[in-house]
Symmetry: C3
Subunit: 150 residues, 3 copies
């Protein structure tokens, strides 16, 4: 939560970075909710650590992410529900090496198909984003906490 040097919040560089971060998350969450499992997993680094309350222990690496996404999609289909991950409130801090600390909020909505929609979870998401060889953003680590857990 310290000030950035290269990308101070009133610079055009920060504007470009902040837009890129928002676009990254929009695309990533839409892949998640569409069960585009492999493409979703490809938005993480090869050895990413994914630590979320719905998993008994952290997942490391893309094959585990693909399996987690497929499992969640299968359970939702069986339950006749759809989930949407709606992120926002991105607090973005750039490190000297260009990695990004991003702390944000995620609301997960659940809709019963043929029924009602509701708030399912309210979460805080703490990511470290890095850049791949082609300059794309990738999640290196993700830690999600749920407001309803102690």
């Amino acid at each position: 939560m310290t000030a950035q040097l290269e990308t101070a919040p009133h610079s055009t560089a920060f504007g470009a970075l902040y837009a890129q971060v928002q676009q990254f998350y929009a695309h990533q969450m839409q892949l998640l909710d569409s069960a585009a499992s492999q493409r979703w997993a490809d938005t993480f680094t090869e050895d990413a650590v994914f630590d979320v309350p719905t998993l008994a222990e952290p997942v490391r690496g893309r094959p585990g992410l693909v399996a987690a996404n497929r499992g969640a999609a299968a359970r939702l289909a069986e339950a006749g529900e759809r989930h949407r991950h709606f992120m926002g409130m991105f607090d973005v801090v750039e490190r000297p090496d260009g990695a990004l600390d991003v702390r944000s909020y995620t609301t997960v909505y659940a809709s019963v198909i043929g029924g009602v929609s509701r708030v399912h979870r309210v979460c805080v998401c703490e990511d470290v984003l890095v850049r791949g060889a082609d300059g794309r953003l990738l999640v290196a680590t993700r830690k999600v906490t749920r407001d309803d857990l102690g």
Copy 2:
């Protein structure tokens, strides 16, 4: 969902575009929720196609949009409720001709005046945005789907 050439996500041009898109939707939805019906309709092209689950068939053109917004406002007033359209997660892809494909999420909140607030609908919004003669963004087509419908 392919990469942009002119406005790659890490460019200042994409930063400017992404901010403009967000500002456009913020303003447009606030007009909608305020029942500023004509000003809201003017954020669409003259021959825009507006396809949403609450309407029996798609509306084409601004007079139909004005009527739809006035009808919705009247029904809400009668029911003693307020609705808010909260959009986010904008996945923005620029076409070679400058038109924008924007896929995003919308949560509609309903509040009973003197009562409680709740999630009313969770939707996916697929727009094509184009530019008017003055460079302003306008919705050319809008297709909304609801998570609770089959």
Copy 3:
């Protein structure tokens, strides 16, 4: 809601400004929800006016803001709940003197620790932002209205 001259919505200057505004609110709301009371209060001007429905009358100045935030945090702890302020839909208009009129939406989520999460409040937030001596954004006035109130 009139057009900006210096920072038209398709300019890189507006892109930089819009990102800064979003980053400001993300950081400010995370301070609020974390009960970082003094740091939260420091995102307002010395003589800021803070007018929200949960307070019997408007608060003026940082000591009152600190007290309000501490009081809210204590009541939440006693109730065993967490609140999250999720803002979005920022309609940003720059005045000729550089002050910003920002009208946006805020959803407040409440989670019972060990229980369920729900929509608590749906609000409209009307701020005037100004710049401190170091160029940072600060809230000069905030007026919040709740959709469930008449």
